[in-house]
């Protein structure tokens, strides 16, 4: 009896389609990825197991502590900068020139005492990188930082749920600076903060790890 012979098929598969998909995905991810803007204030943030993603672009009032213990304010939300500045002018009782006000809206951060703002705002980004900036003064009474926080709060009508106070501290900055920053916030009756950290997986075998395995999420 003649047996029907099974036709031998080639094992090679046409890879063209798969290659197309791979590179399509690759180009998609590269084009949608947002590049980190070059930071004017280099800060190494500590690691933590906190899982809540930071919202740094909208309604954020970021207080940065650099390795030397100087304090800066970053208002990444451009829409509130003008309001904050107007409130600050009201608190200090002195006005900046129109040119400086324009420069303020363009600048990414505040890094000088109020009296030195005109010379700080006249610096170009290259000059800012080279100069040893004085930072926003914080002393036992809160200094200028207290007033800036107050100005920030006023810009949101005192609504503490809408404005996010984020503290971005450097690994090597000392605790007393952090404590005085907290002091300046407390002067404005702000008691809730978010500390900016790099994410890290919960260590194995710990309480948090067990919750994580069970699928219990951390509270926000």
């Amino acid at each position: 009896m003649g047996r029907a012979q099974v036709k031998r098929k080639s094992t090679a598969i046409d890879m063209t389609a798969m290659c197309d998909v791979a590179f399509l995905l690759l180009s998609f991810f590269i084009l949608t990825a947002q590049f980190k803007p070059s930071e004017a204030l280099p800060v190494t943030i500590p690691n933590s197991v906190a899982a809540k993603a930071a919202k740094l672009t909208t309604d954020a009032f970021v207080v940065t502590i650099n390795p030397e213990g100087k304090v800066f304010i970053e208002l990444s939300d451009e829409s509130i900068r003008e309001k904050v500045l107007n409130n600050m002018e009201g608190i200090k009782g002195s006005k900046l020139s129109a040119g400086d006000e324009g420069a303020f809206k363009q600048s990414n951060f505040i890094g000088a005492p109020w009296d030195a703002m005109p010379s700080f705002l006249s610096m170009t980004p290259e000059q800012l990188k080279k100069t040893d900036l004085p930072g926003v003064p914080v002393d036992s009474t809160g200094g200028d930082l207290r007033d800036w926080i107050s100005a920030g709060l006023q810009a949101y009508g005192g609504d503490m749920d809408r404005i996010h106070f984020i503290i971005k501290g450097d690994d090597s900055s000392r605790y007393p600076v952090f404590a005085s920053v907290l002091g300046a916030f407390k002067k404005n009756n702000v008691y809730r903060f978010q500390l900016l950290t790099s994410p890290e997986a919960p260590p194995q075998g710990t309480e948090l790890y067990k919750q994580y395995v069970k699928g219990i999420k951390q509270e926000d």
Binding site: M15, V49, Y175, Y191, P203
Partner: protein
């Protein structure tokens, strides 16, 4: 896919002695290229998601609390963690700072777990005491331990003079500058 017609049609016929040029396939093996593509995709995905920062919540109490509103702590359930300079960490149980013991950021978790296991849940209270020379990184690391070990009651309270002096003496004895 379009394939080129390499056969010479309509041209002059080659003589019987002329060898025909071997027909080469136009297909290329794309497997290594696919490998490379997916390798790059995985690389980019892993590197981009890791750079997204997260935030840790911190609630601080008001400074002007009345005496009757103060949190009462049982001595048996108290654990004090003091952070010193050069990533040093010290702890003592109860109220007596002279019981100070040196530890490290790796070992402190075991101490916390031990204390947690030996005290009723409602009595356990950890006081985090950063001293003048401790760094912000240390504070975040200890606050993180609270989350990791599921500690419900803790507070930040700067180290007082007695504790600071003890830590300094220990640091000097251990040659930490």
């Amino acid at each position: 896919m379009a394939e080129l017609d390499t056969s010479s049609g309509g041209g002059h016929k080659k003589g019987p002695g002329v060898k025909k040029a071997k027909k080469l396939s136009t297909r290329v093996d794309l497997t290594p290229m696919v490998d490379l593509g997916f390798l790059l995709i995985t690389f980019f995905i892993f590197t981009t998601t890791l750079s997204q920062p997260t935030t840790m919540k911190l609630f601080m109490p008001k400074d002007d609390v009345k005496d009757e509103d103060l949190t009462k702590i049982k001595e048996s359930g108290a654990l004090n963690i003091i952070m010193g300079k050069s990533n040093g960490v010290y702890y003592y149980e109860g109220m007596d700072p002279s019981q100070l013991k040196a530890s490290s950021y790796k070992q402190i978790r075991d101490e916390i777990i031990k204390k947690k296991a030996s005290t009723p849940a409602d009595d356990l209270f950890i006081t985090i005491k950063p001293d003048k020379e401790s760094s912000y990184k240390n504070l975040v690391a200890i606050l993180d331990e609270m989350t990791i070990n599921d500690i419900k009651r803790y507070a930040i309270d700067p180290a007082n003079d007695v504790e600071f002096a003890l830590v300094q003496r220990t640091e000097q004895a251990n040659g930490i500058h």
